[in-house]
């Protein structure tokens, strides 16, 4: 049956729409306790004294943890494999707290209400230490050092050509400085974890988790337990966007479970999910572009200061990732990236949809627009003159960029948006109150982690009735991965999707995967499923040939059955399975450890039209066009859905999202009442178009979209606002007071 290119609702839509889907919070184990974590109200302090006496006396309290009860093990919360050597400065519970929201103590009680009450009865005496919130200040030589050895976690330098000389020889040089904010992932399902510690020494976790095999690594390290005794059961994810990964509440839940011998559920409330997990990194970027007399960019220099908060987590990886992307969009002979990841006492920065790319392309695309403006060139034409072409070469690793269709995206987008006509009549529609502006941005994101080992494991087993069991380590964030994987397998095996069962990620009964991040799901997971399905088809073909007593070359899979070409004889999948069982005394099962051979680029060109109210400073994004280089649209409806979600998320980043801290490092706008996320009324008129051009290495030539789709959004909108007002706003979010200040400065 044909499924590729066909819109299908998410395969578990019925469960979800009836409320019958089970998420972690819907699990109630026998005799289960509820955990609560006390978090730090101060940004940096030594714990002088913790008094838990009052809390212990509260009826229904079953266990209390302080740093004295936690293993004294330093870890990095985002280890990607066992020998990951990223800086490790975090403990499950520590004598020192390093940001507002850091873990201090924990309670398990009969109800969440009692646990909450007990938390409020724990008295902590803090000896405050100097706290530092500005990463640039933290880098100064005389700055207070959060750990010995300074606040610089890692500096990264990558360059091609001779950048300084190229700037000297440039016809024109443009510079800018931009900054981005700490952004909450905003998955509607908050962080939650249920833990159990069995008498056999097993640690069991149930949680929405995009990388269960990574959770195993950190828990193994902390509890000195073999992976064979750590079972992480991934539950349905109520959204992730990067947030459902890394060790946050798991070790606490495990400790409470060990102490009580009971199941313990910890659910963060919305404020805790915002403050005590991690956010998109706040960054500051300095950019510089040099051009020659023909409007060609000859030199690019970007320096990024990345605020990690007090723990490294994924920061250094994100620094590396954004760096590598920068070299893949424009064909520029001389380029340099310098990144500095820095410890501060703010909340933590970590992986969020785009993994550093939204920041680097925010900087770059504002800079490119500014350059075009200074040169009096149309920003679309200027980009067209400088973008990479398909199969260009990445100047850093000398590898092919693959089928990079960014120019097609830009061309198509400008047509769909009516870019030229709109710009021609722009000034005529401006009124005293409303200004209108148009913005464009281009960007690229990766597919997987190659050339790093990019491993996923799949297996496919044939049942005797002809149905199949597919196992994959890939996790579904909720955006449709499992649906797409089923479509791929069903298409190749010529069978109904409903006849393929798929096991949810699980370290106990499932197979290994490196983690559902880095836009790996379709590119790596999908390619692995395509490969295993082809192998299964091949094995079945051999058996069908034997059963029909012909050579396998004579067999075709058609109308769901194996047929002899030009002959009436046929055998269905059930027949193949039964023949194998009966005659060959064997089950047909295929298993594959797949390593993705290359890392393609998913490009995109986005266009935004905004209306700015000069009286209130409010921005309304009115129209939006996104053209995405997807390789192949396996499921156009799901693809559109992801892109639409990304547009709204990027719109939030541009216009109003970001945690704001007071001078003591306390977030002023935690919780959904004060932290504004995009609503239905923020949605512009959206038009989406796919450029479909086969990409070698992806399933059916398809590549990723989840992350790529958000990257051009923020710069496209900010470019549109600047176009409307003739301003040079560069600090997101563009809150209305910032806009008014820029208009009436």
């Amino acid at each position: 049956m044909r499924y590729i290119g066909k819109s299908q609702p998410i395969f578990d839509a019925r469960e979800k729409v009836t409320g019958e889907m089970i998420y972690a919070d819907d699990l109630f184990f026998p005799n289960m306790l509820h955990g609560k974590i006390l978090t730090s109200p101060v940004a940096h302090a030594k714990i002088k004294h913790i008094d838990t006496m009052q809390a212990e006396k509260l009826p229904g309290v079953r266990a209390i943890l302080t740093y004295k009860d936690a293993p004294d093990v330093l870890y990095n919360r985002n280890m990607q494999w066992i020998n990951d050597l990223k800086p490790a400065t975090e403990r499950v519970l520590d004598k020192v707290v390093r940001y507002v929201g850091d873990r201090v103590a924990a309670v398990a009680a009969d109800t969440a209400e009692i646990a909450q009450k007990a938390i409020s009865l724990i008295k902590v005496e803090y000896e405050e230490l100097p706290a530092i919130f500005d990463p640039e200040a933290a880098l100064k030589e005389d700055a207070y050092s959060i750990y010995t050895g300074g606040n610089l976690i890692k500096e990264l330098n990558k360059a091609c050509g001779n950048v300084d000389q190229a700037f000297d020889e440039s016809y024109h040089v443009t510079q800018n400085t931009v900054s981005t904010s700490m952004i909450h992932h905003g998955a509607i399902e908050p962080h939650i974890c249920i833990a159990h510690a069995s008498r056999e020494g097993e640690i069991c976790i149930w949680e929405p988790q995009r990388a269960p095999f990574r959770t195993q690594i950190m828990l193994g390290k902390i509890f000195k337990t073999p992976y064979s005794k750590i079972h992480v059961h991934g539950t349905s994810m109520g959204g992730s966007f990067g947030s459902k990964e890394g060790l946050m509440i798991e070790a606490i839940a495990v400790l409470l479970a060990q102490k009580t011998g009971r199941y313990v559920k910890i659910r963060y409330d919305r404020n805790e999910s915002m403050i005590s997990t991690f956010t998109r990194h706040a960054m500051k970027l300095y950019g510089k572009i040099g051009v020659n007399g023909q409007g060609k960019i000859t030199a690019l220099d970007v320096k990024a200061i990345i605020n990690s908060g007090p723990y490294c987590g994924d920061t250094t990886n994100i620094q590396g990732s954004m760096c590598s992307k920068m070299f893949k969009l424009y064909k520029i002979p001389h380029m340099r990236f310098v990144g500095q990841s820095v410890y501060t006492n703010t909340q933590l920065g970590g992986a969020m949809r785009g993994y550093g790319s939204p920041a680097i392309f925010y900087a770059l695309e504002l800079l490119v627009n500014k350059t075009a403006k200074e040169l009096n060139m149309d920003p679309v034409a200027f980009r067209m003159n400088n973008l990479v072409a398909p199969y260009g070469i990445d100047p850093i690793n000398q590898l092919s960029l693959g089928n990079a269709r960014i120019k097609d995206c830009l061309q198509k987008g400008s047509e769909l948006f009516n870019w030229e006509e709109k710009r021609a009549r722009q000034s005529s529609i401006e009124t005293e109150r409303y200004a209108y502006g148009y913005g464009v941005a281009t960007a690229v994101h990766g597919n997987g982690v190659a050339p790093e080992p990019d491993i996923t494991v799949v297996s496919l087993a044939l049942n005797e009735d002809g149905s199949m069991l597919l196992r994959t380590g890939i996790s579904d964030h909720g955006a449709g991965t499992y649906t797409v994987l089923k479509q791929i397998a069903a298409d190749i095996l010529d069978m109904p999707m409903e006849h393929i069962a798929l096991i949810h990620t699980d370290t106990y009964s499932g197979l290994y995967d490196r983690g559902a991040g880095s836009s790996r799901n379709t590119w790596v997971g999908g390619a692995a499923v395509a490969e295993i399905a082809k192998r299964m088809k091949n094995s079945m073909t051999l058996i069908a040939a034997e059963a029909l007593q012909v050579s396998s070359e004579e067999i075709v899979l058609e109308d769901e059955v194996f047929k002899i070409k030009d002959n009436k004889a046929k055998i269905d999948k059930k027949g193949v399975a039964c023949y194998a069982y009966q005659e060959k005394r064997a089950k047909i099962i295929e298993t594959l450890s797949y390593d993705s051979p290359r890392n393609a680029g998913s490009y995109g060109a986005h266009f935004a039209g905004v209306q700015v109210d000069k009286l209130t400073g409010e921005v309304k994004v009115e129209e939006y066009v996104a053209v995405c280089d997807v390789g192949k649209a396996i499921n156009p409806m799901l693809l559109e859905g992801q892109i639409e979600g990304a547009i709204l998320m990027g719109l939030g980043m541009a216009l109003f999202e970001g945690l704001q801290l007071d001078e003591k490092g306390v977030p002023k706008n935690a919780g959904f009442k004060k932290y504004r996320m995009p609503k239905a009324s923020d949605m512009p008129k959206i038009m989406i178009h796919f450029v479909e051009a086969y990409e070698e290495g992806g399933p059916f030539g398809a590549k990723s979209i989840g992350e790529a789709a958000i990257i051009p959004v923020t710069p496209a909108i900010v470019n549109a606002v600047n176009d409307a007002l003739g301003t040079e706003l560069t600090e997101v979010p563009l809150l209305s007071d910032k806009i008014l200040k820029a208009i009436y400065k």
Partner: protein, 156 residues
């Protein structure tokens, strides 16, 4: 503890509740009607929406003790075993569901809207969704779904 009566999804319940229990707590933790979701607990995301006497309300900010003799419909009460509510069908068809965590609240909101206003304009749909957050879909297909449900109603 106090004893109150409530009708939930057509069934009459007598419940022993504490004064500070929210309706969401009663639904999820006491009755294990877990289709209604917790997203914020502060009345700002709509994941916990239920129908109370036909009106969509956030159950996380309502005290159960004040709901004596109220009629409550949760997401579980909208479908039958063999038949989904037309709004639910429309959500599936329009691709309005991704992670599904906002979905019960969205469906409840849509049902309340269409019961009051069977042929809403796009703007009326947007206004009705003002208190429902979805981080996955960007709302477009949710709005499409509600339009579709309205259209289907026409055909029935």
């Amino acid at each position: 503890m106090k004893s109150i009566m409530m009708k939930i999804n057509g069934d009459q319940y007598t419940l022993e509740i504490q004064d500070n229990w929210t309706l969401l707590y009663v639904l999820r933790d006491v009755l294990h009607l877990t289709g209604t979701k917790y997203g914020c607990g502060t009345g700002d995301c709509g994941a916990c929406k239920v129908l109370i006497n036909g009106i969509a309300k956030n159950s996380c900010t309502l005290l159960a003790k004040n709901l004596e003799n109220h009629e409550i419909t949760t997401i579980e009460g909208l479908s039958q075993r063999d038949k989904l509510h037309p709004v639910q069908e429309a959500f599936i068809e329009a691709g309005a569901i991704q992670c599904g965590f906002c979905t019960p609240g969205m469906v409840i909101t849509a049902v309340a809207l269409l019961d009051q206003n069977p042929y809403p304009t796009e703007n009326e749909i947007v206004v009705a969704l003002e208190n429902n957050l979805c981080r996955c879909t960007g709302y477009k297909k949710i709005i499409d779904a509600i339009r579709l449900a309205s259209k289907k109603r026409d055909r029935r």
